[in-house]
């Protein structure tokens, strides 16, 4: 990527302007400091958290939970997407269920998982997993479905074996969709784990935010939020630009 586009500069300008306006409004006392604190104070809070080192453990705990949930959901979601693809009748019947999957707050099952797995990290991993796995499955399915017919016919004409067809042709052809699935899995695992921690758990980043909120510690709360959002946002941007490049290389849209 060479340099920044015009839109990129405008975006930077708009965002900085918004932050500046918020800063001015907070400093001038137009916004109640109980609700929102000035961005510089948020940043200072975030820096203090990192420097003090007392939040390293919850951060690492959350990240490892997310990593496990995402890895599990990528593997299982891929398999599930393949099964859905092979069974079109089943898939059509399950369509409304799949479509409504994300309307139900999955973390309400947290108490069940605690009974099933015990009071440890696995209930949270399970929540991240059930939140992320369907996104991976749906994207895998879409990838398989969108392999152009002409490629499949070419494979037949060249008498490729099923394994060769899969490795040489089907997988490369659906790679962008698989990557989108991977990206969403990571994002959704984050959302699931953090939401679970926020609501019920006694440790982790989400819990610390809720704890700081309940004890009116705005500097810590906004500091943690900034750290979390910065991390997730940065990860997203990385994956997003990677994905763009993948699509571009295929000459697709």
């Amino acid at each position: 990527m060479s340099g920044m586009s015009r839109a990129g500069w405008i975006r930077l300008f708009v965002v900085s302007l918004l932050v500046l306006m918020l800063e001015v409004a907070c400093r001038a006392g137009w916004i109640d400091p109980v609700a929102v604190i000035a961005p510089t104070k948020m940043a200072a809070g975030a820096w203090n958290l990192l420097a003090s080192g007392s939040y390293t453990k919850p951060i690492l705990l959350t990240l490892s939970n997310v990593a496990m949930a995402a890895a599990l959901s990528v593997v299982v979601g891929f398999a599930a997407g393949w099964v859905l693809y092979r069974l079109p009748r089943f898939r059509r019947a399950a369509d409304p269920l799949l479509a409504s999957y994300y309307a139900v707050p999955t973390f309400i099952f947290y108490p069940l998982f605690i009974v099933l797995f015990g009071l440890n990290r696995w209930p949270l991993v399970a929540i991240g997993f059930i939140f992320a796995v369907v996104a991976m499955a749906l994207n895998t399915l879409q990838g398989f479905e969108r392999v152009p017919q002409v490629l499949r016919r070419t494979a037949q004409a060249m008498r490729l074996s099923p394994q060769q067809t899969l490795i040489r042709l089907v997988l490369p052809s659906c790679a962008p969709h698989l990557f989108t699935g991977l990206k969403l899995s990571i994002v959704y695992a984050f959302i699931g784990v953090i939401a679970g921690e926020f609501v019920l758990s006694g440790a982790g980043l989400g819990f610390e935010i809720a704890f700081a909120y309940n004890s009116f510690d705005n500097a810590t709360m906004y500091g943690l939020m900034i750290l979390l959002l910065g991390f997730v946002g940065g990860l997203n941007m990385l994956l997003y630009s990677w994905e763009r490049r993948l699509y571009l290389r295929r000459g697709g849209r």
Partner: protein
């Protein structure tokens, strides 16, 4: 290949599709029953007991109030998500530069765990109805914006030129060209927006209020009444699935009529 054949031979005729859905439903019920037997009824109540629990829950006189509370918060949030998302999405799609400026920001906002923004929403809107609505709309509006924007952006230039040469006013252009040409994708966005608005509203209720389905959920989570949780989850799954089914049908119809 076999699946190409299968795709050709199984064009959906209604009775068969309906039969498949019934079969799937039966299989899910059996699975649920088995799972319940495996982990124990006090952890996961079986289907029949859950239905009975749901029945007694719904016949409780206070339930109607909770349901009405959730319903009205959801309805307002949905209207804000759909109308706001449609308006903003159309503007951003029609004006290329502002679309380019805002798209990465919106995608970023869409993919962060919005639950962490909850304290801020609460502090800004206070406890009660407005916080729930704000949280529902916050979840739902972004996918609607994103889908509308991409739909409007992908409208073939020639439609716009034809509209201009016919001297359509901006509002005629909006209702006569932009909306019909982008309808299929917009309906997909609406479907996503619907699900996420419901999710957001429920999460909002979990913390911001003393009423509503979300409040019932968090209360039974805290007292570990798994029977109530499962019963409410069943209610939500059934409602959301029914709505998604309707929207999917609508989507299929719209795609058939306007889509490529």
């Amino acid at each position: 290949m076999a699946d190409a054949l299968a795709a050709k031979s199984s064009r959906p005729i209604l009775p068969k599709a309906a039969l498949d859905k019934l079969l799937l439903l039966a299989a899910l019920l059996v699975l649920w029953q088995l799972l319940s037997m495996l982990v124990g009824a006090e952890v996961l109540t079986n289907p029949l007991a859950t239905l009975r629990r749901l029945g007694s829950l719904m016949s409780d006189p206070s339930f109607a109030g909770h349901a009405r509370e959730t319903g009205s918060a959801f309805a307002v949030a949905l209207v804000i998500s759909l109308a706001g998302g449609l308006g903003i999405g159309t503007l951003l799609g029609a004006h290329r530069l502002s679309g380019e400026v805002s798209e990465p920001l919106l995608v970023g906002l869409y993919s962060i765990p919005k639950i962490t923004l909850y304290p801020m929403v609460l502090l800004l809107f206070g406890l009660g109805m407005s916080a729930k609505i704000a949280f529902g709309a916050l979840h739902g509006i972004i996918p609607v914006i994103l889908f509308t924007m991409s739909a409007v952006r992908n409208i073939p230039q020639i439609y716009l030129r034809a509209g201009r040469s016919m001297r359509l006013t901006p509002s005629q252009m909006f209702t006569g060209v932009l909306i019909p040409a982008s309808l299929p994708e917009i309906v997909t966005g609406f479907r996503l927006g619907f699900s996420l608005t419901l999710l957001g509203t429920l999460i909002g209720e979990m913390f911001a209020s003393q009423r509503g389905i979300g409040y019932l959920l968090i209360k039974s989570m805290e007292s570990n009444e798994s029977g109530v949780i499962i019963a409410l989850a069943l209610l939500l799954v059934v409602l959301a699935t029914a709505a998604s089914w309707l929207l999917l049908e609508l989507e299929r119809r719209v795609h058939g009529r306007f889509g490529t």
